[in-house]
């Protein structure tokens, strides 16, 4: 029993160092790098180009400012809502994502001077008969979480009697309107105008509201140095003409028509195979990330789970209580809540950043580990108690009896559950897209944000998942046969 505790702390210490130790070094190694969060897709301000590089007005602006002011930026395209939370929790230093400066937001953010002016407009499907707010009565309107378009819609929805449906990214909003689930959407005029021009399939039916200045944001009272640098840099860029060049590059006639042309041309080549080819590198890195998460996650979850399971069968009330409590908590928490809590919740309390990958691994370890712990405990308990008694009666200590007699029999009982849990872990990595990890699901989202081929891309992503799960299953079955013989 003492050995178990030593083991337990050893493995945990190792796991802790392995996961937390590494990234800290990386952070320290680079000097004066600010982490800036942004949206997944918000063209023309931020979107991935056909090489999956993030471009747009916001991206060029922040990079130009950084160059001017002599600092480095690391861009994290994690989605608008996630970006807001990441800034609030201190996970990132600032955000630039076509974010409107509002009095509500000023309570929790400090904004730079406005770098772009835009207002909110309403867009409907091409050919729709809806042209005014009054026609929205009893209808559904699509909005994006946390945006000023959403705030505007919510502020007038009582007056005009419509319902809202909320999405995390712009494409889902537009898709919802195009499929007819929602009759209209509200978004910033610059964004919708750009979208309409480049063949989004929507039309704008209202005039822009007069609100809507975009600003770069930091957490209130924090990162004032960065904020000042941005203001200073922006001023300089406006003065030397760089600012105007950037705006022209993305909203000028030339840019829009080029984008439109490319999307029209390539729409013919949107076969599955062509899409796979175009996005090969993105898919591969997405698959790699998913596999990494799965392998490392399974490894730690298995170690953690076995320890928790063993703790549950040690003849000590305290150990058993601890095991039961851990299983109860982490099996009871939805994975998505746990991931957000670890990634956004803990840093806002302690002030230390947790890298997304590490947060993801901790999430998987705790959640999948709790399930593994439960069936490890169950598997051991399913072994006839006479086996343990016989071993003990020969003078074998508890740990030896467990290792030589009970565990080998228990493991056979557990194997199918292990295989099952590994498959679930692979699938669960997709949930970690909420904390901005660029795994397969998030990769899919981003590709769709660019080419709007939702059906085909999701089909490809689904098939890739199935392939990976098939491989994992075959591998598990092979190991299962090896162990059983």
């Amino acid at each position: 029993m003492k050995k178990f505790i030593v083991w337990f702390s050893l493995v945990f210490g190792f796991a802790f160092i392995a996961t937390v130790g590494q990234p800290t070094q990386q952070v320290e190694a680079s000097e004066k790098t600010y982490t800036i969060a942004t949206d997944v897709t918000f063209p023309p301000f931020v979107y991935a180009n056909s090489n999956n590089k993030y471009v747009g007005i916001d991206m060029e602006l922040i990079k130009a400012v950084a160059k001017k002011e002599g600092f480095k930026v690391e861009i994290k395209p994690i989605g608008f809502n996630a970006a807001i939370q990441a800034v609030q929790s201190g996970q990132v230093d600032g955000m630039i994502a076509g974010m409107s400066i509002t009095t509500e937001r000023k309570k929790t953010f400090d904004f730079s001077n406005p770098y772009y002016s835009s207002g909110i407009v309403m867009a409907v499907k091409k050919g729709s008969k809806v042209t005014s707010l009054k026609q929205l009565k009893g209808k559904t309107v699509a909005i994006k979480t946390g945006t000023s378009g959403a705030d505007y819609a919510n502020s007038i929805k009582k007056k005009y009697g419509f319902k809202t449906v909320t999405f995390d990214d712009s494409d889902s909003v537009y898709d919802d309107v195009k499929t007819g689930n929602a009759v209209a959407c509200f978004d910033d005029s610059a964004v919708l105008q750009y979208g309409v021009k480049t063949g989004l399939g929507l039309k704008i039916v209202t005039k822009p509201t007069d609100t809507g200045n975009y600003g770069f944001a930091v957490r209130k009272g924090h990162n004032q140095v960065l904020l000042n640098k941005f203001n200073k840099g922006l001023k300089a860029l406006k003065k030397d003409g760089t600012y105007a060049k950037i705006i022209e590059k993305y909203t000028g006639k030339k840019a829009v028509s080029a984008q439109k042309k490319s999307s029209e041309n390539s729409s013919d080549s949107y076969t599955m195979l062509a899409l796979l080819k175009q996005n090969k590198s993105a898919f591969i890195s997405g698959i790699e990330e998913t596999l990494w998460l799965t392998i490392v996650g399974i490894l730690f979850a298995t170690i953690f789970g076995i320890l928790i399971g063993l703790l549950g069968v040690v003849p000590s009330k305290i150990a058993q209580g601890l095991s039961t409590t851990i299983i109860y908590i982490f099996r009871g928490l939805p994975l998505i809540v746990l991931a957000l809590f670890i990634y956004n919740g803990i840093p806002s309390l302690t002030g230390t950043k947790v890298p997304a990958f590490v947060a993801g691994i901790i999430t998987l370890t705790l959640n999948e580990g709790a399930y593994i712990g439960a069936f490890v405990k169950g598997g051991i308990e399913a072994v006839d108690s006479g086996q343990m008694e016989a071993a003990r009666s020969l003078g074998l200590p508890f740990s030896k009896s467990m290792r030589k007699v009970v565990l080998p029999q228990g493991i056979k009982i557990m194997i199918p559950s292990f295989v099952n849990q590994f498959i679930i872990t692979l699938k669960d990595t997709s949930i970690l897209s909420v904390i901005g990890i660029l795994e397969l699901t998030q990769t899919g989202k981003i590709i769709i944000a660019r080419n709007l081929q939702g059906f085909r891309i999701w089909a490809i992503v689904a098939v890739i998942y199935l392939l990976m799960i098939t491989v994992l299953t075959l591998l598990s079955k092979w190991i299962e046969r090896r162990i059983k013989n």
Partner: protein, 246 residues
């Protein structure tokens, strides 16, 4: 050293409000074979299981080979090495062959090398008449064969005392003889044995002393003839009447 191999004084065992043993005094001399009989629920199995602390006694002392195993300061694993136990349901390790079952404890506890353990296991299997089963898995054996392997496994640690907890109760009638034969041989060789059984024939033939228990107390004890032919206690008489075909 105590003059007794086993010396139990005022042993009590409660499961909550249920008093299973109500103050047992129980002694076993060196080389003695003691058979515990009594109706089910009388506490005889519990008493036996207290002797190697598979059951934690509530109070009282249990001295085996001069060592009080009821004390928490006693290394119970060490003490158990000298106390062999045979179970009603054999409890052979299902994940090991017959040979591995027998060799596990001697090797793991550093009592003998692998070669020594193997030789010893083969010798033991021969004494219980199963030399050809060294590589067999327990699941391929009959009940009687399993129990004989279990006895061999317990003997592999060279214990001073052997405890038998209803060793023939789970066997088909035709298997009982073989197991009892092995136990008789063991008794003849001078092994100190405590046997819980319903085999009255065995008790009569092999036991040096018979102890009759009921309601968590020792009701009567003595030589087999004395207890079986001239029982003094009413409970003993009633019990023996029921198992008349002795």
């Amino acid at each position: 050293m105590s003059e007794y191999k086993v010396n139990v004084t005022n042993l009590k065992k409660n499961y909550g409000a249920n008093h299973v043993l109500k103050g047992i005094d129980f002694k076993v001399a060196n080389n003695e074979v003691v058979v515990l009989i009594g109706p089910s629920g009388s506490g005889k199995s519990t008493l036996l299981r207290c002797l190697n602390k598979l059951e934690e006694p509530t109070s009282g002392s249990i001295v085996i080979d001069g060592q009080d195993i009821s004390l928490s300061s006693t290394n119970i694993d060490k003490a158990r090495e000298n106390i062999g136990m045979v179970f009603q349901h054999f409890n052979l390790f299902n994940n090991m062959t017959v040979g591995e079952n027998i060799m596990l404890a001697p090797i793991e506890l550093g009592k003998s090398s692998k070669d020594e353990a193997k030789k010893q296991a083969k010798d033991l299997l021969e004494t219980v008449g199963l030399s050809e089963k060294f590589d067999a898995m327990p699941s391929s054996l009959s009940g009687g064969q399993k129990q004989r392997v279990a006895i061999a496994r317990a003997l592999a640690m060279n214990p001073d005392v052997m405890l038998f907890d209803e060793p023939t109760s789970a066997l088909d009638p035709e298997m009982v003889g073989d197991v009892l034969e092995v136990m008789k041989d063991l008794a003849k060789k001078g092994m100190t044995m405590v046997v819980v059984t319903h085999e009255m024939g065995f008790a009569k033939e092999v036991a040096d002393r018979v102890v009759f228990m009921a309601d968590g107390r020792v009701m009567e004890e003595g030589k087999p003839d004395q207890v079986f032919d001239h029982p003094q206690n009413e409970r003993t008489k009633a019990f023996l009447d029921k198992v008349i075909n002795v």
